[in-house]
């Protein structure tokens, strides 16, 4: 049973517009969430994170929103650029997690068209 789900396998957006990537989770013990970006033939790279004590975290063009009651988070990219085209993974971590282990969603492929 997938504890972290990204229900949209792909998303296409015009350059300059907003990209919204969504992630849902089922485990109520998750209290820290991260977004990773992955280009082909490379490993994932950390993008932005949010703790469950917050509902928003912003870093430049990237903002993550967390809705704990809905067990939902989203990543907003504004404005979108062609270089943002990649696969985006949502990941979650539970408290008292001895190994700082992450549970990943299946990823969303974002394509930003010039």
């Amino acid at each position: 049973d997938q504890q972290v789900k990204q229900n949209s396998p792909s998303l296409s957006v015009q350059e300059g517009r907003i990209s919204i990537l969504n992630c849902d989770y089922t485990n109520s013990m998750f209290d820290y969430f991260l977004w990773y970006k992955k280009y082909p033939a490379e490993g994932p790279t950390f993008l932005i994170s949010i703790s469950s004590i917050k509902d928003k975290n912003e870093d430049g063009r990237f903002t993550v929103f967390l809705n704990k009651s809905a067990k939902h988070l989203s990543l907003h990219i504004v404005p979108s650029q062609p270089g943002d085209s990649a696969v985006y993974f949502c990941a979650a971590s539970a408290a008292n997690n001895a190994g700082n282990m992450l549970t990943f969603g299946g990823g969303t492929r974002l394509m930003v068209k010039p």
Binding site: T45, N100, G106
Partner: protein, 114 residues
Amino acid sequence: NAGVTQTPKFRILKIGQSMTLQCTQDMNHNYMYWYRQDPGMGLKLIYYSVGAGITDKGEVPNGYNVSRSTTEDFPLRLELAAPSQTSVYFCASSYSTTQGQPQHFGDGTRLSIL
């Protein structure tokens, strides 16, 4: 900085062969991880280590073994390769203790079992 280095980048194995995927990091991170990513899927944790001499199973450990004799190295061993182990393997590392500490990934090893 090299970060996390994985070798080899590509490998084709025959069923029943064995091999070791190498992973080394130069960031003095205590925590290290092995993931596999199947096509269209997210990353699944195989094994992890919280320090030299300490390893533990992740979500999908069957068919794999690990060792951690030094802080820098965390090799993954496949003893009897099976077609189901065809995947892309990622090694990652992170600092210890802080929950949600981002993991730093290598560029992966693409393994095909024929």
